[in-house]
């Protein structure tokens, strides 16, 4: 009996945790999102679809969604292009510095997101390191605008999310049997052919997971977009945050959040469906 009690406690704690920290806020969010925005009550009034009608009819929100998805997709692509070679190197190197290199790769995670954003502002501003260097080299004559626009957001977010991509890809590369690469080499495949025919196809599950993860984290981040977008570039999370903190319209903020959530969920499910058929072969 005692055991049974203990088992329930083990199960109960996570359930409690889940309810308090996930389910309750989500329910609250749903209630506020589907309520009538009232000037005198920031949590909204009776049930209504007004917020969503506004989101779907006002082109501002459609454009914002598009910008958000574009940033998320660009960041996913950029982290993939930068992260794959890095993950490949880290997964295969015999170097004693491997631990240190891995730490360097993951280091963005350990630094406050605000600090990182300001660091990028310093580097990318008109008189920053990047622009000065480019002008010194004579590649440009006038500073290129790299912050307070999408470019800045993409650069800084790529930096922040690169570790997630690297970890996801490394996971699948490390579970790949080295003998497969040896086998391909013994059959006459050069290094690039081994990469093309064996390593890359078999690491696609990791790539898919990394792309999905980075995309979701990218479209839902708000600190970096606020700081590097300078409130000029609007993304869905920035818009929602403004509703909560400056417009004091929690009902509409909740609706934007729900809309973003639904959009991301939809894209994720579609992506998953699309890949499942193709990856099933490789994962078999």
């Amino acid at each position: 009996m005692r055991r049974n009690w203990l088992a329930w406690a083990w199960l109960g704690l996570p359930i409690l945790y889940f309810c308090l920290l996930f389910a309750v806020p989500l329910i609250d969010l749903l209630r506020m999102g589907f309520s009538k925005p009232l000037p005198q009550r920031i949590t909204g009034g009776d049930f209504s679809l007004d917020n969503f009608v506004e989101i779907f009819t006002n082109p501002l929100y459609r454009d914002t969604l598009w910008v958000t998805i574009r940033i998320g997709a660009t960041v996913a692509l950029a982290t993939l292009l930068l992260g794959y070679p890095l993950a490949l190197f880290l997964a295969r190197t015999q170097s004693r510095a491997k631990g240190f290199l891995l730490f360097l790769t993951l280091s963005p995670i350990f630094i406050s997101v605000v600090v990182r954003a300001y660091g990028w502002i310093v580097l990318l501003s008109n008189k920053g390191l990047v622009n000065s260097a480019l002008m010194q080299l004579g590649l440009i004559t006038r500073p290129v605008r790299l912050i307070f626009n999408e470019t800045g957001i993409v650069i800084a977010t790529t930096h922040v999310l690169l570790p997630f991509m690297v970890l996801a890809i490394m996971g699948s590369l490390q579970s790949l049997d080295i003998a497969l690469e040896d086998a391909a080499a013994s059959l006459g495949a050069r290094r690039w052919q081994v990469l093309r025919d064996v390593v890359i196809p078999l690491s696609l599950p990791g790539v898919a997971a990394g792309v999905m993860l980075v995309f979701i984290l990218g479209v839902s981040s708000f600190v970096t977009p606020i700081l590097l977008g300078g409130q000029v570039v609007l993304t869905m999370p920035v818009l929602a945050l403004q509703q909560f903190t400056t417009a004091f319209n929690w009902a509409f903020g909740s609706a934007i959040t729900l809309f973003l959530l639904a959009a991301v969920l939809g894209i994720t499910i579609a992506y998953d469906r699309l890949l499942q058929g193709r990856l099933a072969r490789g994962a078999a």
Binding site: A179, D182, A184, S186, G188
Partner: protein, 355 residues
């Protein structure tokens, strides 16, 4: 014409450990050579050195006289079959087998027909479009073999290819493998830690221990005249009898074991020298009267195809004999004399072996 392979003083270490230690080896054209040894003795490392997946710290590897030590694996043209087969999980059977031809730029139609032919050669014709995960262990083994053979390799290297199969299938595959090798006449190096498999399949066996080749010879040589107790005990069961050289005359050493003396052909033994004699249980003869080592039967075990008779010598020491099931009858506690026909036991001088 089949290829010969020469290893000259090849060594390879991993940190402190010397996995392959100064190995010299000549593999004859068309030969089926088994590398036999306990786990961790360096068999796989040696195969990987030959295949080019690892480079030696020192020494040279020559293939038909050509120094291939520095050649990358993709230019060596050696067929390798891995212990777990290492089939590409995302390719069909046909794509797996055809891969070596694809990267060599063989036109697709020709590659397909050659891959089909290779599959037919290993007795697998109906599984072209399956993925490796959908095949049985034996079928995967055949695909791996076909994939290695389709590129017409100079050598065939096999790393414990049969160890994942169950006993009856393994025996079947052993015969097939041997027949295929004989038919193709391809020089083959076969790694195994199964002594019976090594003896059954190969023309010569290299018995390895701790990165060195302890003995290289035909299955009969290594089995009947092991050079030390390691080789003797590793290749099947044996009795190790301690004795002393009593006299040496005319190239015959008379060795005293327990209470009896036995003649051995001997080159370099001194009287008084302590030696060890290896005697296979199946070569032991027991007699209820006569000469030999006196003792009693301490137990008789029936195994179906044979009897194991445990013999305890009066002068100390317990040994075993394998007898036909209908021999005897032997009874526990019965006094018997143990001996062997001349030539059935071999001397191992003591001290050349630290086992």
């Amino acid at each position: 014409m089949a290829t010969n392979l020469v290893l000259e003083k090849v060594s390879r270490g991993f940190g402190q450990l010397t996995a392959v230690n100064n190995i010299d080896l000549h593999v004859q054209p068309g030969e089926f050579l088994a590398l036999l040894g306990p786990s961790g003795c360096g068999k796989t490392t040696m195969l990987r050195l030959i295949a080019g997946f690892l480079s030696p710290d020192s020494g040279r590897i020559l293939c038909d006289g050509e120094d291939i030590t520095k050649l990358p694996p993709y230019r060596r043209k050696l067929g390798v079959v891995f212990q777990n087969y290492a089939l590409f999980p995302h390719m069909t059977v046909l794509e797996n087998v055809g891969y070596g031809l694809k990267v060599a730029g063989v036109p697709r139609v020709e590659a397909t027909s050659r891959a089909r032919a290779a599959l037919a050669r290993v007795g697998l014709t109906t599984q072209d479009d399956r993925f490796p995960a959908q095949l049985s262990g034996g079928q995967q083994q055949r695909v791996a073999l076909a994939r290695a053979l389709v590129i017409e390799p100079r050598l065939l290297l096999l790393d414990e290819p049969l160890s994942a199969l169950d006993k009856s299938l393994r025996e079947e595959m052993q015969v097939e493998l041997r027949q295929l090798q004989q038919r193709l006449g391809i020089t083959t190096i076969f790694v195994t830690h199964d002594q019976e498999e090594a003896l059954t399949l190969s023309d010569r066996v290299a018995v390895m221990r701790a990165g060195r080749i302890e003995q290289l010879g035909t299955p009969r040589e290594v089995y009947d005249t092991p050079v030390n107790s390691f080789v003797a005990t590793f290749l099947g069961t044996t009795n190790l009898l301690d004795g002393t050289v009593a006299a040496v005359a005319d190239g015959v050493a008379s060795v005293r074991i327990a209470n009896a003396e036995f003649p051995f052909p001997a080159a370099s033994f001194r009287p008084g020298q302590a030696v060890q004699v290896t005697l296979r249980p199946e070569n032991v003869s027991l007699a209820s009267s006569g000469s030999g080592i006196a003792g009693t039967i301490s137990d008789v075990l029936f195994q179906g195809h044979r009897l194991i008779v445990l013999f305890e010598a009066e002068a100390g020491g317990e040994w075993r004999a394998f007898c036909p099931p209908n021999s005897g009858p032997w009874h526990k506690g019965e006094p018997v004399w143990m001996g062997w026909t001349e030539g059935a036991a071999a001397i191992i001088s003591k001290g050349d072996d630290d086992a």
